[in-house]
């Protein structure tokens, strides 16, 4: 962790302008942390809790990306209404 967080800070500094790069970096941090915790729990035979950690990480990722994707879905809907494809 001591090395990973400065690395991601530097990557954020480099790619901060790019849209969705920050989201991607945050997702990767979540994946790394969740995998770490998962392995730790599995080592101690807490497999159900490890599964739960994985599930919660997935839910977090999906909610992040859905929040970003919603404006485009509504834009697409407007476009389809312009074509009179939706009634």
């Amino acid at each position: 962790m001591d090395q990973i967080i400065p690395l991601f800070r530097r990557l954020h500094f480099l790619f901060g302008q790019v849209p969705f790069a920050n989201l991607l970096l945050a997702s990767v941090v979540i994946i790394i942390v969740s995998e770490f915790v998962e392995h730790l729990l599995e080592e101690h035979d807490y497999e159900t809790i490890a599964h739960l950690v994985k599930l919660s990480a997935n839910v977090l990722l999906v909610s992040f990306w859905l929040k970003e994707a919603m404006p485009f879905v509504s834009k697409l809907q407007n476009l389809m209404e312009a074509f009179e494809m939706l009634r």
Binding site: F20, A21, L24, L61, A69, K75, L79, M80
Partner: protein, 299 residues
């Protein structure tokens, strides 16, 4: 004119830069998480979210142009029709046929109600089949796209045929000079090259007959202004092509294929926009010619 084109080019640069930086970021992250299936998914969706707004902007622009044109034509047709009745004599030597107007209106109607929605469906199918690789619908998207290519080609053929047999564009140019350019264009631009070449020759012929009565400067200004959207779409499609070729060694295959499909769809959109462009040029030239004759007659 130069500023307009340059601004469009400058608009494309940040997009290009963003996608290339996403590729670099993907390569860096892949070193941290080798062979992670989440990472592939995430980079795919990031690229999708960068690309889709661009596509939506292009589509909105084209839809707006078509809407404006259809309403403009509805306003113009009574005027043009009445002038046609008044000026039967003087106009007979360029022999503008009313059927040109009917065909233009029909083409705009078909573009608005059939071509653009079908193209949107094709793009959605492409995105679907790259997102859900277990349930690919690429054949369907390809079918729709090839249908659109064939229809745009046919529409262009019909327009050329009507315009030349109606006598408006029978003046022939010396084609020996620009034939190599046409051939190069046809081969260089993948799908709609021949449509574009047809458009260029139609516009050039129109320019020759109209420059005698409205002046070359006005018509050149019109044509360049109208062709900016086409150039913009073409530029965008070529950018996608370049991105797909750059991303081949770096990104997952599905991202490359997505860019390639989107560039194909944008080339088809470019063909459709060319047809609209020809319609506008013909109507405007018709209107100018008529007003010239009307003014000439009263004064």
């Amino acid at each position: 004119m130069k500023e307009v084109v340059f601004a469009q080019l400058m608009d494309m640069l940040p997009f290009f830069f963003f996608v290339v930086s996403l590729m670099i970021l993907y390569v860096v992250l892949q070193m941290l998480l080798p062979d992670n299936r989440y990472l592939d998914e995430l980079i795919f969706y990031a690229c999708l979210l960068v690309v889709i707004p661009e596509l939506i902007v292009v589509f909105e622009a084209v839809v707006e142009v078509v809407k404006v044109l259809t309403s403009m034509l509805f306003a113009f047709i009574p005027i043009i029709g009445s002038i046609l009745l008044i000026l039967e004599g003087p106009l007979s030597f360029i022999a503008w046929n009313p059927i040109v107007l009917a065909i233009i209106q029909f083409l705009l109607f078909v573009t608005d109600k059939l071509f653009l929605p079908l193209l949107l469906i094709a793009i959605l199918l492409d995105v679907w089949s790259r997102g859900m690789q277990e349930l690919p619908l690429t054949k369907m998207a390809q079918l729709i796209r090839s249908f659109l290519i064939i229809s745009t080609g046919t529409a262009m053929l019909v327009l050329t045929g009507v315009l030349t047999t109606a006598g408006a564009l029978v003046i022939t140019l010396n084609d020996t000079i620009n034939t190599p350019i046409k051939k190069t264009l046809e081969q260089a631009i993948p799908i709609v090259g021949s449509v574009l070449v047809q458009a260029i020759s139609i516009v050039k012929k129109t320019q020759v007959i109209t420059s005698s009565f409205i002046g070359a400067a006005a018509i050149i200004a019109f044509i360049t202004t109208l062709s900016v959207p086409i150039l913009y779409i073409l530029l965008k499609a070529l950018t996608y092509r370049v991105l797909s070729s750059i991303s081949e060694p770096l990104m997952p295959t599905r991202v490359t294929l997505l860019f390639e499909d989107l560039s194909k769809s944008l080339f088809v959109l470019c063909g459709i926009a060319t047809i609209i462009f020809i319609c506008v040029v013909v109507v405007i030239v018709l209107f100018f010619a008529m007003s010239f004759f009307l003014v000439g007659r009263s004064g």
